[in-house]
């Protein structure tokens, strides 16, 4: 008889040797004359268990991980392919607490099947959202999105429905849907996971967006650091076109929608929407003044929806199950779920999709299992390089846009990077400025010059030069950058800097004070 097993192709799984494990499993199976059907699935995001092999059994899929090439012989000796026990077996995948406690809406399909198998996509509920959308008037699609409470998952958290409404209401022969896939924030990888593990859901979301606002052209602006995602997306687009989900007369309607991937070129600032549009137009990624909003004058001056990957990938389930279904998750004005990414110094890293409202402590300790090094966790940085450092005393905050904003922190794109007590927060603050200096587009002075001056001032404080005067200067500089920068790059770089200064003054060689940013 033949056995069916799954070995992931997600690039993090590959970075841990999934391809080598696949080769070893194949070799061993041939040698032992065992007939195996190996599906190359995506990853479910339990990266602490990757490479994770799953075995199909009558009861469901069993998980074995993390599997290295050296484990393969022993797994075969134990007859893992028949679902038999082994030290690496974690029981049924879907019963693993870490996964079971999640609420997977956007990531409902990720890791279950071959990401490029369109039939699997359909069998797992794919394109139901689009089919519903086709029967709605554009305005009704926009209203569904508005009612769902979905806010931009790229970090800015702007209500998606309002953005779509603006593009819908702006008359123009030509409109665009632009997917911001320039996921540059350290600690985030949920965009990459969608693109590599469930690419059709992004395509479906973009087609629905096109239907809603009357756009016939879409672009996915993809960072060049994601070569695997590029390959998957291009194949998925070809497959979707072949089957009539893209191109002319989609699903027999009069609606046409073309989609292509544009490779970015390693500039962090191009994750800022206006800089992204400049780049897409073939220019330097210089930030534009707003207004005009891209929704009114965006790509080539035409009304443009610019949405993050997760935002667009959340659209199909909203159109499939309705706005209320989605809005029933979450808290306050943060509706729905957030794909949270655990990263850095944690034992159990990976993707956790949960309704808004879960606390940092639950994420870091219950899911994350504490630090990987076994040392106390000193701080976490949430929301990428422009997000504040959060100390232990704030770990009971729920993940909610407004709660975070109250303490000058951001939820951002939902990435959490943990640091143990060996981290020097003054060094991290200096790095924030350094990163800003490297990545600033240079258009506005606070960001261009402030970032370099910031590094110098921190160096002086650390060297003990006129410490009080320089601390005041640093806070003053932060104020100038927050109020005077053109975009979030310069405007938010002070968040990690000042949070580090406020919560960890000792690392700067300063006494604890009550000064607030």
């Amino acid at each position: 008889m033949s056995y069916k097993i799954y070995i992931p192709t997600d690039s993090t799984s590959l970075s841990l040797g999934a391809d080598e494990v696949f080769d070893a499993v194949q070799r061993e199976a041939i040698q032992r004359n065992i007939s195996l059907e190996i599906v190359r699935n995506g990853s479910r995001g339990l990266f602490w268990l990757e490479p994770l092999i799953e075995v199909e059994t009558k009861l469901g899929r069993l998980a074995y991980g993390p599997v290295t090439v050296d484990d393969v012989k022993a797994l075969f000796d134990a007859e893992f392919f028949a679902g038999k026990g082994h030290a690496l077996c974690h029981g049924l995948t879907e019963e693993i607490e870490w996964l079971k406690k999640q609420e997977r809406l956007t990531f409902a399909r990720a890791g279950i099947s071959d990401p490029l198998d369109l039939n699997d996509y359909l069998n797992l509920g794919g394109f139901r959202g689009l089919k519903n959308a086709i029967n709605l008037k554009p305005n009704e699609i926009v209203k569904t999105v508005t009612d769902s409470g979905l806010r931009g998952r790229g970090g800015a958290a702007f209500p998606t429905g309002i953005k779509w409404q603006t593009v819908h209401d702006t008359p123009s022969q030509k409109k665009y849907i632009v997917c911001n896939a320039d996921e540059g924030d350290s600690g985030t990888y949920s965009d990459r996971m969608i693109m590599e593990n469930d690419p059709f859901v992004l395509i479906e979301g973009m087609v629905i967006a096109g239907l809603a606002v009357g756009a016939n052209q879409g672009y996915i602006y993809l960072r060049s650091e994601y070569p695997d995602a590029l390959k998957v997306l291009n194949k998925a687009i070809d497959l979707a076109k072949e089957k009539g989900y893209l191109g002319d007369k989609i699903l027999g309607t009069d609606f046409n929608f073309e989609l292509e991937v544009t490779r970015a070129a390693g500039a962090y600032i191009c994750g800022e929407e206006t800089s992204l549009l400049e780049s897409l137009e073939g220019k330097r990624g210089m930030v534009r003044y707003k207004p005009p909003l891209p929704a009114i004058e965006g790509l080539y001056g035409k009304p443009t929806v610019v949405n993050n990957v997760i935002t667009l990938a959340s659209i199909p389930i909203i159109l499939d199950k309705g706005s209320k279904y989605y809005a029933d998750y979450g808290m306050g004005r943060s509706k729905g779920t957030l794909p949270i990414q655990l990263a850095g110094n944690l034992k159990k890293t990976g993707l956790i999709e949960k309704a808004f409202g879960i606390t940092l402590r639950e994420l870091i300790y219950d899911f994350g299992g504490g630090s990987a090094t076994g040392r106390p966790i000193k701080a976490v940085q949430v929301g990428g390089p422009l997000g504040a450092f959060i100390p232990e005393s704030q770990f009971d905050m729920p993940m909610d846009y407004e709660t975070f904003a109250k303490v000058n922190a951001v939820v951002g794109h939902g990435g959490i990077v943990a640091f143990d007590d060996t981290v020097d927060m003054a060094k991290m603050a200096r790095y924030s400025f350094e990163f800003c200096a490297i990545e600033s587009c240079g258009k506005c002075t606070p960001c261009r010059i402030g970032s370099t001056r910031g590094m110098e001032v921190i160096d002086k404080i650390k060297a003990g030069v006129e410490v009080n005067k320089n601390e005041k200067l640093l806070r003053d500089l932060a104020d100038t950058m927050v109020s005077g920068s053109l975009c979030a790059m310069g405007g938010m770089t002070p968040f990690p800097v000042i949070s580090a200064l406020n919560f960890f003054p000792n690392d700067f060689g300063l006494e604890k004070t009550d000064t607030k940013a």
Partner: protein, 158 residues
């Protein structure tokens, strides 16, 4: 490496391919770098003429983006992630180890032309930090031992 007639032809072909494409510079420069390994300045006048852009505009474009190289790289490119998540798991030690072992700094190439060392800011592999990328292959939970193997293989492969 001198600028050959063959290189000029490759560039001309790419210029033609993207001539009518909106936002042509981005795919064009990727095309040139994929074909030649870098974007030579000799390409500028050719692009300038075909696309009605000034040399300054083209130079400004190329130099804005970290991804585009203006000189040839080594046979292999080793990218070290410098971003926060990797820092939290000891990326600085990996960074220093690579620099010492290869005896070069960032943006430099080893004297045998085997490896160019570059910093990178996030590979999206933050769940398994620290991460590096050798050519287009990302590796996670990197140790000095793994770096030794990467370097050994890269030297064989040059």
């Amino acid at each position: 490496m001198s600028f050959t007639k063959e290189s000029a032809e490759k560039i001309q072909n790419l210029i033609g391919k993207f001539q009518d494409k909106p936002g042509a510079l981005l795919p064009l420069m990727h095309g040139i770098q994929d074909a030649l390994g870098f974007v030579p300045e000799e390409a500028y006048p050719l692009i300038s003429k075909a696309y009605q852009l000034s040399i300054a505009e083209i130079h400004g474009f190329v130099t804005f983006y970290h991804h585009f190289r203006r000189k040839p790289s080594g046979k292999n490119i080793l990218h070290i992630c410098r971003a926060e998540s990797c820092q939290s798991m000891g990326a600085e030690k990996i960074e220093q180890y690579c620099k010492d072992k290869l005896d070069i700094d960032y943006h430099d190439t080893t004297s045998d032309g085997a490896i160019t060392l570059e910093p990178i800011y996030c590979l999206g592999n933050c769940a398994c930090s620290p991460a590096v990328m050798i050519n287009e292959k990302v590796l996670g939970r990197v140790t000095p031992n793994m770096i030794d193997k990467i370097i050994e293989r890269a030297k064989e492969n040059s």
